[in-house]
């Protein structure tokens, strides 16, 4: 009885939070002298207005979902893996590297793509392991280690694009030379979304769900995240679990980077991560770090991203509007959750 009523109050507060975020974003648009309703309409049309648009949403959904899945593991371990952005980037770099090495070989295209995925995972894990090492053996907070590595990853991408991997002639911000079409992830006819990347994304979140919800690994990871000292004293090898969390998240982030290269851009571009790492952190916060709602919320965020792409053309608005709405949404949910708990405490 109590449970049911608290679920309804929860929902009420969440709806209130959404309303608050919409009001805030509308005010921001009014400040920018834009018509909010027009903008929202454009976002909706731009994301689910046609099957093509929706397939674009799915294209964004997969890497975002992969990043979120990985982040759920580090969050469970009590770690703020802000370095996820760099881990995605390194995944993309490693995938590009593998493809560059193998593209002229006689190996079948499918195998090269598979190696591309594996290399991406490896790259993400490599970058995550730097942060893990700094955290575990150097006492450097993962937030700062991760941020530093993000900047290094960005610099590395740019150096590669303008240096060793530059296009024939002159390097440019448009990225490296695209791979031949045989090395692209095959898509549904006429659409940009590939069934393979959908499979990777869905299998990924299912694995994370099962891992965190029912296994000893998930429970111990949670113990490490909630109280590392007590977990250690209980005999849980906390260092190994932290390593595992970082590496697993790096693996998923690396896969996201691989999908960006193999299924979306078919080359390395300067902002290859598309900000999905930070966005994944927002998604994870919004779902209170529980995997159950990861897929739908990530889909919603992906739709906002895709839907706002048209804004600069149609309304002369910056497409970061989606970021404003997403940030406002998470902030409002956090605040409303605080208000709800405060009211409950009062009672």
């Amino acid at each position: 009885m109590v449970k049911a009523s608290s679920r309804w109050t929860n929902l009420a507060f969440q709806l209130l939070a959404i309303a608050l975020a919409l009001v805030f974003t509308s005010l921001v648009m009014v400040l920018a002298k834009a018509d909010p309703l027009e903008a929202y309409r454009n976002i909706v049309v731009g994301s689910v207005g046609s099957i093509n648009k929706f397939s674009d949403v799915l294209v964004a959904w997969v890497p975002l979902l992969l990043a979120t899945s990985g982040l759920l593991v580090t969050y469970t371990a009590g770690l703020w893996n802000i370095g996820v952005e760099g881990q995605i980037t390194l995944g993309a770099i490693f995938t590009t590297w593998a493809l560059r090495v193998l593209q002229d070989s006689s190996l079948p295209a499918g195998l090269i793509i598979a190696i591309g995925f594996l290399s991406g995972a490896l790259g993400g894990m490599l970058w995550a392991s730097v942060v893990a090492f700094l955290k575990i053996y150097g006492g450097v907070n993962e937030i700062f280690g991760g941020l530093g590595m993000n900047f290094v990853a960005t610099a590395l991408t740019i150096w590669l694009i303008f240096g060793p991997w530059k296009r024939p002639g002159i390097g440019s911000m448009s990225g490296t030379e695209p791979f031949k079409e045989a090395l692209w992830l095959p898509t549904f006819t006429g659409l940009r979304i590939s069934p393979w990347s959908l499979i990777v994304g869905i299998v990924g979140i299912v694995i994370i769900y099962l891992l965190l919800q029912g296994t000893y690994f998930g429970l111990k990871l949670k113990a490490v995240g909630r109280n590392r000292r007590a977990a250690f004293l209980l005999g849980i090898p906390t260092t190994q679990y932290m390593w595992a969390a970082f590496l697993l998240c790096g693996l998923f982030a690396g896969l996201a980077g691989a999908v960006q290269v193999l299924g979306v851009y078919h080359r390395l571009i300067p902002s290859i991560s598309s900000g999905y790492g930070f966005l994944g952190m927002l998604v994870a916060m919004l779902i209170n770090y529980q995997p159950t709602w990861a897929a739908p919320v990530a889909l919603f965020f992906a739709a906002l991203n895709i839907g706002s792409i048209q804004l600069p053309i149609v309304m002369k608005l910056d497409s970061t509007l989606s970021g404003v709405l997403q940030g406002a949404l998470v902030l409002a949910v956090l605040l409303m959750d605080g208000v709800r708990q405060r009211i409950l405490r009062r009672r």
Partner: protein, 331 residues
């Protein structure tokens, strides 16, 4: 002394000024026991807003003021969410960092690339013409002078004054501060807002002086706020040491610019990130002494070596206010 070097040093002092403001602002906030991770977003947003206001009104002081107000408002959200609502300070700060950044890019769109007013240089009569010293210290704009004042003021306030002692107290052991008459949560609100205003001044200091103008995502400001946060730790929550860190950071940036011509193959973006790994390294130095494996390894070493290493580690180590990030409830 070489004039290029003298001008270089003066330039470092000026370009470090906003970081000094941000790092000291954050130091004050964290001293009171609150973590404010929103710095990076706040600097971007206030840089944009300060510039927009200055362009529109032609008044740079108004631009600075708007920056301070917005910075204070962002900090107020952090304070409200963490002190009153007891939400995760890291989560709220991080969301604000992203939200403010996107707000800056979204709202700043119409002001991209406009040319606007700059903070005027105010050479101090008399002092400005002292050889070397005059160039280094007395030919700056108002905010750079204020950055010097702020370092001294913040240091004296925290360590020498009565309210400063209480500020240390509420971050160290709020329950003990409470029995001594402190309204812990009110003080935390005040210091968070004051610190936020200082951080908010850093933004316009960039867009009206150090990196004048607003260029959206390529303004080169993204990341500065995180550096300021790292400097707070590196500085051991001491404004003097944090400011030294800021000057060191500005020096590295300057070095990157100076070295650029001699390294034509390295894209400028690569040299610009050089300070970040170095920042990690300095954090490593001040934190490694806290790691558990160090104690275990030390215990296995011969006595003299053990004591020598332990002394070095302890000298470098900084430890945060004991109640940092912990909400206070009087039971």
């Amino acid at each position: 002394m070489d004039t290029a070097l003298v001008i270089g040093i003066a330039g470092i002092l000026a370009s470090a000024a906003p970081i000094v403001f941000a790092a000291i602002g954050e130091t004050i906030i964290e001293r009171s026991g609150v973590i404010n991770l929103s710095v990076n977003g706040a600097i971007l947003l206030t840089a944009m807003a300060g510039f927009a206001v200055a362009v529109t009104t032609g008044n740079v002081v108004l631009g600075l003021l708007v920056g301070a107000v917005i910075g204070a408002l962002v900090a107020l959200i952090v304070a409200f969410a963490s002190i009153t609502l007891k939400q995760s300070q890291v989560a709220v700060g991080f969301v604000l960092a992203l939200l403010c950044r996107d707000l800056a890019y979204f709202l700043g769109n119409p002001y991209m690339g406009l040319s606007g007013p700059r903070l005027p240089h105010l050479p101090i009569p008399g002092l400005a013409y002292i050889p070397i010293l005059g160039t280094v210290f007395f030919q700056h704009d108002l905010m750079t002078y204020l950055s010097f004042v702020l370092i001294v003021l913040a240091y004296v306030y925290i360590f020498r004054t009565r309210p400063g002692l209480m500020l240390q107290g509420i971050g160290e052991r709020p329950a003990a501060a409470y029995v001594r008459g402190a309204n812990v949560n009110l003080l935390r609100y005040i210091y968070t807002i004051v610190g936020g205003a200082l951080i908010g001044l850093a933004g316009p200091m960039y867009s009206l002086s150090v990196k004048a103008g607003w260029k959206g995502t390529i303004s080169g400001l993204d990341g500065i706020g995180w550096i300021a946060l790292a400097l707070t730790i590196f500085g051991g929550w001491n404004p003097l040491r944090a400011a030294l860190g800021a000057y060191f950071f500005a020096f590295l940036q300057w070095l990157g610019l100076v070295l650029q011509p001699s390294l034509p193959n390295v894209p400028s973006q690569v040299l610009q990130v050089a300070p970040f790994p170095l920042m990690i390294l300095t954090l490593l130095l001040v934190n490694v002494g806290n790691a558990e494996w160090v104690d275990r390894t030390l215990a296995g070493l011969p006595e003299q070596m053990r004591h020598a290493i332990a002394r070095v580690l302890r000298a470098m180590r900084t430890s945060p206010p004991a109640a940092l990030g912990v909400p206070f409830e009087k039971e």
